[in-house]
Amino acid sequence: MSAPTSYEQGNSLWKDARLRLCRNRAAMASLVFLVFMALACFVLPLFPCIANPNAADLSNIAASCSWEHPFGTDQLGRDLLARVLYGGRISLLVGVVATFVAFVIGLCYGLVSGYVGGKTDAVLMRTVDVLFALPFIVLVIVFSLSIEEPCRELTNSVVELTGWSRDSVAPIFGLVPLFIAIGALGWLTLARIVRTRTLEIKSMEYVLAARSLGLGHLNILFRHIAPNLLGTVVVYTTLAVPGIMLTESTLSFIGLGVRPPNSSWGTLIKEGADRMEVSPELLIFPALFFCLTLLALNFLGDGLRDALDPKSAKD
């Protein structure tokens, strides 16, 4: 990438990065697409033009595309467009929240491992090596199912404490096992990257200066080291989202992830795959939304990497 255009005034790292990102057409198009997708999934269903995704209309089963039902209806006469948008809500929500859980764990783990160093570092990193060799998706399945019971109890206590209606709370809380299981097992790569960067930054003069000024370890870690590795962390967190969404939808597809009354793109693709000989659009529309979102996330992640981490090799 070329140098910043203005020479009178220096650019900050973030401004530089923003300029580089804006010049990357694929990444910008992906960003716009993702914003539209998020708006479509989270805001559009609030308007009455989108039907209730669970309202069965038995007089209108497996209809093809029309003005009333732009994507047609499924085997129970439910509007497919509404179902795809509501499914996107769940898929995007799981993608973002589980990534956030992974992000928090990976950041803290990597920071501590790199900063403390020595034996602690060795033990923590060997642990990551061992966890890396475990079959990820198999463990996610077993883990998410086994924390279902505690999560249900959590829902009950929340309902009792707050007095919210169970119907409004239960769908969201039903996703908690997935958030935890995917997040708790998806932080390994991030922890390794954060550790490497922490080791580099730790030996910089400004950290030495901070230490000789008598700052505490926590202060140095979170005020001086963490902000400086934020760029790298943002890149790899973005690149982790498609993988995590893929994990969620794979689980949902085989019936071990998102459960009714919720549905995600994974469950919709499963339903579509079951009846694709009769009405292929039931498979095609959810699959299209899902794949395009993954594509956009990948392009955006690549673009962010080129913008924020120009030294790292492409591919």
């Binding site: 090596d129 077993v142 795959a273 694709m276 594509l295 990948n298």
Partner: protein
Amino acid sequence: MIKLLLNRLGQGVLVIAVLQTLTFFLVRLLPGNPFLGERKLPEHIMAQLNSLYGLDQSAWVQYANYWKGILLHGDFGPSLVHEGVQVSDLIAQAFPVSLELGVLGMLIAIGLGIPAGMLAAWWRNKWPDALIMAFSMAGICIPAFVIAPLFGLSLGMHIPGLSVAGWDDPLCAVLPSLTLGLVTAASIARLTRGGMAEVLSADFIRTARAKGASAPRILFIHALRSGLLPAVSYLGPAFAALITGSFVVETCFQVPGMGLHFVNATTDRDYFLIQGLVLCYGVLIVIANLSVDLVLVALNPRLRSQGAA
């Protein structure tokens, strides 16, 4: 070299022990139990079933017994759902199927991915590169569970003899292994392209071109060895992903492999079967990673001195 091997073997044993312990205790936290059928069983029958399978003992005693069974007798315990069937028999039936599927998928992935990546690197930033990279991006973004039904619909329905479900004749393996292989081929192609592109811009390749070496000679004799490193180091995780990821493909095409058993066993809460299958997955993954490490050392002499340190 031997030190590296021993080091990795030790780590492998640790991995399997951790995996097995985690699964053992997680599985027992699962809501429900294996004996919940359509009919609710009377209390005393439930108690008898539990004591028959040793499930009434404390978790630690069960844990100790489980290891004792495996290490002393090679006994993985009985299946709790399939009556009178041993877990080891089920695995003995399913393992060859999954292995065949995984190896076929891997061969397709390597056979497609590495040549495609090399072509893309050779014609870097020209149209073949763009075309191959577009395909590989599609392969990364279109998950197996979308490819599988589409294949079934487009190929399976129209090509006679190509079956879309089951595992009775050799042709049954075509669609599942193709689905499995394509997804991995995409990642391998990207990694090969990256590695080869880096090597092809190195000085010694310029020298080789200057002395008039032919294109195949440059690609295969000069560049291949170091250009393949990123792709080869990915093969271990890729094989692990193929083997564990195959349960999507196995579910889609109803292939009676470990994946299908695993999905059913988790739904049925068949404790011993889940544990046995996870153990099997763990051993496979450890072996795959170990062999990839050895290949890497053979390809890259610089690693040999590191491994000894």
